[in-house]
Amino acid sequence: MAQVIVVTSGKGGVGKTTSSAAFATGLAQSGKKTVVIDFDVGLRNLDLIMGVERRVVFDIVNVISGEARLSQALIRDKRVDTLSILPASQTRDKDALTKEGVATVIEELSKDFDYILCDSPAGIEKGALLALYFADQAIVVTNPEVSSVRDSDRILGVLQSKSKRAEEKKDPVKEHLLVTRYDPNRVEKGEMLKLDDIQDILRIPLLGVIPESESVLKASNTGNPVILDEPSPAGQAYKDAVARFLGEDRKMRFTDYEKKGFFSRLFGGRAA
C-alpha cells in the first residue's frame, strides 16, 4: 500500500513546489517508486520545476473527467526512472477536482507506486484541502518568518480536523516540519527566527532545514530539481531530509553561523 504524502504550507511562495520536486526525486533516487501530483489547478508549476513542461499532454483533470487514462497523463522522468509526474490542468478551474475523482486517481496510483506526493496549492481552499485530504503524512514547509509560521500552524489545525484520517478518527496524519530559506547569518544577527523558536512554536518533529541558497533559483531556471545539484548546500540538505524521512539518523547541517575568516571579511565572500 502506497504512502500518501502532502507537501503543504498554507502560505504561498515558501517552497512547496521546490520541496515537492526535490523530495520526490530524492525518494525515487532511493529506489522507491514515486509519483508527484500537482494539485494547483489553474496555476501549475511543478512541470516547470521538474523540467517536463514540454511533455505535458494530459493532466489530472483529464483523468478525473474520463478524457484520458491515468497511464496517458503520467510523465516518466528521464533522469530517475522510478519517478513519475502527474501534472495539474492549466486551463480548467479548481472546481474540476472532486474528492471522488482524486480518490480514484490515488487508489489507482497506489497499485504501482510506493510514495504518492501531493504538491498542495497555497491557501486553505478546495485545492489545498483535496491535496491534504488523503494524506498519511504531511511535510509542512515553513520559512523563518511570522506569516509563514502562523499559516503553518493553521494548516496543522486543518490536517488535524479535515483530513480523511481525522474524519474517520484513524491515527492522525504524521507531521514533519521542513524549514526552508534558512539563513544562519541573519539568525546570528537576531534578524531571523531561530530554528529552535520555530520548533518551539509549531511543536512538530523537524525533518530538515534547507538553507537559503542560490542553487534553488539556478535549479528552477533549468528545470532540474535542486536535489540533483549534489554539491550545493540546498541539494545536500534535501538529501539529508529524504534520508531522515526513510528512517536514517542524520545530523542537521547548514544551521550554524560560519564566522567569516580574515580574507572573506576583507574581500567579501558570498556563500553559494
Partner: protein, 93 residues
C-alpha cells in the same frame, strides 16, 4: 564596502527583531488555537449583553462597543454600553 567594514571596530549593531517575532507569534497562536475549537463567540456575547442590559435600561443597540485586547498573560474584554443621558427639555413631570 567590505574593506571599510573591516576597519570599523564594530559594526553598528541593529537591535535584534527575532525575539519580537517569536513573542508576537506565541501570543497570536495561543489565541488562534483556542478559537479554532469553538465558533467566534464575540458577536453572540455582544447580542446577549445588549439584550440583558436592555431589559433594565433603555439603550441604543448601536451604541454598544465590544473590544478585545490580547496580551501574553492577560487579555481584556471591554464592553462599553452608552446609556442615554437625561433629556430635560422634553421631560414633563
Amino acid at each position: 564596502m567590505n574593506w571599510l567594514h573591516f576597519f570599523r571596530n564594530k559594526q553598528e549593531e541593529a537591535p535584534a527583531t527575532a525575539p519580537q517575532a517569536k513573542e508576537r507569534l506565541q501570543i497570536v497562536l495561543a489565541h488562534e488555537r483556542i478559537s479554532r475549537k469553538g465558533e467566534d463567540f464575540l458577536p453572540k456575547l455582544q447580542r446577549e449583553i445588549v439584550e440583558l442590559v436592555a431589559r433594565h435600561v433603555s439603550i441604543d443597540p448601536e451604541r454598544v462597543n465590544v473590544s478585545l485586547e490580547r496580551g501574553g498573560d492577560l487579555s481584556t474584554l471591554a464592553i462599553a454600553v452608552e446609556l442615554p443621558g437625561p433629556e430635560p427639555a422634553r421631560r414633563v413631570s
